[in-house]
Symmetry: C2
Subunit: 238 residues, 2 copies
DNA sequence: GAGTGGTCTAGACCACAAT
DNA sequence: TTGTGGTCTAGACCACTCG
């Protein structure tokens, strides 16, 4: 396959340090001439390497080599949220609430929350920023029956703080991890390339009695961040 | 954008149950006629929905709607490995060692393992199967100096069992989570579509004194599996 | 053999960056 | 204005599956 030849050419130049971090690689038209192929073939090779997290593109400017060392490390604490150790290193965290609405559940989400279709929930979209750059998009569904008088202000800082203050205790959590290419709307919010997959977590929080306290989807921006978790002791076998 | 119109057309048919799980959607040529666009435009829409985990393709046959309910649930135990609860439900696990070699480290991996370039390691590639279907590809680097007399048999079942039996204790673990589109070689091993991202974990295991016991990369097949983690109590704030 | 998706061509027009 | 990447066309040949 011709596009694999082009992938290999670019990759070997990255691995051998000929293309260094943040260097611009040859333009699509230059690669077209070099490999004597059509532009679509060159684009396919580049798209693959973008999706593989080796290249990034700037519209109207060019294609560049990703600088992994420059990525900000986000420490995930049991994967629940940010433990803002990052703030200690001078990064400024912030949160924006994009949407805060009362909504009726569609069938798909109702099933996940073990509620009836058309049951009412609060639908919340939040974006977490570091130094003004979007890190995570969070979409949360909160059952109306549990949080009747919630306001946008309640979840502007910490959602879990709010849930705790309401008198609920999260006893267990079910998390599903996946990797997807997000829809355009999410790409725009996170300011990521159109071929860059995101790391996604879906979670459901339970009270001890089995009540569902929330259903949440998290989309992590990998363009400028890497997501690290440190585990200590009590490790089990594989 | 025309390809977004096509994406929306297909998605609304999935969401409204017109295309049901495992249904074949219209062929590329049918969509070309319906939308009066070129085939490349149709293909871009379909590729996006494959990467978004809504469609899958079978070469020579057609494009189909993903059946999420049919996905086998894999329980991740502290994300270290399989806790084979799945076997209780009739699934048969197995492991294949693809590669077991003594190797000299390249610069990139040496840096991660805080070793020198050209230092010797055991390079191990293993695939975990369930009912003969590949679930995870694992690539492990084990420092030669720690495991001099290791054999392929030692890691045919449990790597962590072996490490423990060698007298080492994993005190902490650093994990990095990401989502990438894997290279063709990995796509083939995991038998996944060429536009399907994978969930990737990189981890380094430490002894209490800071010694590095392993560097491991894990690639999870999302085609037929979903990866769930259940956490109990001791949850912290976000 | 007919239909499917996989790869590829040789053009085109556009929005966007930089000069 | 020039060069870049983003979208799109109207073809083509191929390997694969299935009846």
């Amino acid at each position: 396959m011709k596009y694999i030849d082009i992938e290999n050419f670019i990759m070997s130049n990255i691995k051998n340090g000929i293309y260094k971090a943040d260097d611009q690689i040859p333009s699509e038209n230059q690669l077209v001439k070099k490999f004597e192929v059509s532009r679509m073939t060159v684009r396919k090779a580049i798209e693959n390497l973008v999706a593989r997290n080796y290249l990034y593109k700037i519209n109207g400017k060019g294609t560049y080599v990703i600088n992994k060392d420059e990525k900000t490390t986000i420490f995930l604490d049991e994967m629940i949220g940010f433990k803002n150790r990052t703030t200690k290193s001078g990064h400024v965290p912030s949160t924006t609430v994009l949407k805060f609405q009362k909504k009726k559940l569609n069938f798909l989400i109702a099933e996940k929350m073990r509620l009836e279709k058309n049951e009412e929930v609060f639908y919340v979209e939040r974006v977490r920023y570091l130094d003004g750059e979007p890190v995570v998009l969070e979409i949360t569904y909160l059952p109306y029956s549990l949080y009747e008088n919630i306001t946008e202000n309640d979840i502007k800082t910490s959602k879990y703080e709010y849930i705790k203050n309401k008198g609920f205790e999260i006893y267990s959590m079910e998390k599903e991890y996946s990797a997807i290419l997000p829809e355009k709307k999410i790409q725009d919010i996170l300011k990521i390339d159109s071929n860059m997959p995101v790391f996604k977590t879906e979670l459901i929080s339970f009270e001890k009695n089995g009540n569902i306290l929330e259903y949440t989807k998290l989309y992590y921006n990998q363009n400028k961040y890497k997501f690290i978790q440190v585990l200590k002791n009590n490790l089990k076998n594989s």
